[in-house]
Subunit: 250 residues, 2 copies
DNA sequence: CTAGTGCACTGGTCGGACCAGTAGGCTACG
DNA sequence: CGTAGCCTACTGGTCCGACCAGTGCACTAG
């Protein structure tokens, strides 16, 4: 085990060092969202690199969602507040190239959602509980208003739950995975089961969940929510994959 | 609501169209991992853009983890198999700029892990169960071998569980979040509680989990695993945040 | 005081140039 | 005949200089 441990000298490219420095500035808070980077021509002076190098660095930073630049803007690139856009992008890629099945995605949602509900059952305020109630009311009113309105109300409910749960990571992942699931569902809308019955049942389930949360029975609420999601999505997933979903129902 | 709904014409930049095309080719499978892109000079002909534009596109693709290019390589950029590297990167950024607390991360691990265990309890094969057993054995042997060896064995255990659970999304997220947690822990190693006692207790917990899985009691195994993770990490998280963690213990 | 105009500057794209490095074919040696 | 070593064609990384369409701001004319 003796001898000095040399690290492999990776040839670090100029643009990477630029990226690192800006990234560090943003993540450490030295640059806050809304602030501006110097112009490309200014940056090339500060970093002592060419504009091409600066631009490649900016492209990377932009791809990571840290920065945005508009043509003609005299103020330079804008530092963005964090958005899960990059996370969303890479998860979508993951879903495509790894061929994540709808079942896996729904399963993941069941996990996240029931966890959020478990947490929310403990931590929710009265106001948050009321918000969930209003969302379910909106769902009821939207049954005949069409898919989109119903979907929006459903999203509002789950957002309220997740926010009450107080875990930002769960919040963001829920958001990302949900949008991917919805996209997949939209493609299969043809094979949809009886939508209206599905909606009515879903509303009923949501009400049960709220009741359980009001009673403070987190585990029950979580179990109910898993059941609700299973009922709602089972019709879309392949027959043979439903088993894995049911494994979460107990 | 009448009238044609025009979409805003976003000025789509040349390099973005290049990115889109290559991305589409990769995600649709037209380009498989290991295959090579044409050289930059060839690409600029095919896309009818300048090399700068091609290079900016390649930088973006590289930032998304789809391709890699080495200087001097006569074969052109290589199409990479999917890695969660990009996912990891954006989640790490998230953790920094959104100031995710260790508690939130650990909480998320508790959620993912117990879900994986719940699934594994149903779906595991005998071989996989044996693998988990071997990992715990390795943990036992590593208590005196040092942190790293113990950690590696622990990771091996959870990897086996997660694989047995059969959900790739859980697998990848576990991997990503775990590495972030470990990095944060490493920074706080000074405030560490009695490490050896922690390890021994952890081994005991892991054995209980395996026993429950062998008995086919998924919910019990999941509950035990949450308890195990709580015990292991509670010492590192702020006093005031432990409550949120305990909410998952019931 | 406002409406309009011009200008200085921005980012996006292009083309050309040079360098260090690689892979694979070629040559000369064993 | 086989192999070690060189050579060359080409690669990606970086730099430079140029042009364009667009933006925001200051300035001007009403």
């Amino acid at each position: 085990m003796g001898g000095p441990r040399f690290e492999p000298v990776r040839a670090v490219r100029a643009y990477e060092r630029v990226v690192e420095q800006v990234e560090e500035a943003v993540e450490s808070g030295a640059l806050s969202p809304g602030e501006r980077l110097p112009s490309e021509r200014e940056l090339m002076v500060q970093f002592s690199v060419s504009r091409s190098t600066v631009r490649e660095a900016l492209r990377v930073l932009q791809a990571r969602g840290l920065v945005r630049s508009r043509p003609g803007d005299p103020h330079g690139a804008e530092v963005l507040p964090f958005t899960p856009a990059a996370l969303h992008k890479s998860m979508t890629t993951l879903a495509r190239v790894e061929e994540l099945s709808l079942a896996e995605l729904v399963q993941f949602r069941m996990v996240l959602d029931s966890a959020a509900i478990l947490l929310a059952a403990r931590l929710r305020t009265e106001e948050q509980l009321a918000e969930m109630g209003r969302a379910v009311e909106a769902m009821r009113g939207a049954v005949e208003a069409g898919e989109d309105a119903f979907g929006a109300a459903d999203v509002a409910f789950h957002d309220a739950v997740v926010r009450a749960g107080g875990n930002k990571l769960i919040e963001i992942c829920t958001d990302v995975v949900r949008s991917i699931v919805l996209k997949l569902i939209a493609e299969r809308i043809a094979e949809a089961p009886d939508r209206e019955a599905l909606m009515r049942r879903s509303i009923h389930h949501h009400e049960e969940v709220i009741a359980a949360m009001r009673a403070g029975d987190g585990p029950l609420a979580a179990r109910l929510s898993r059941k609700a999601m299973y009922d709602y999505y089972a019709g879309y997933v392949e027959e043979c994959e439903r088993g894995a979903l049911r494994a979460l129902l107990e």
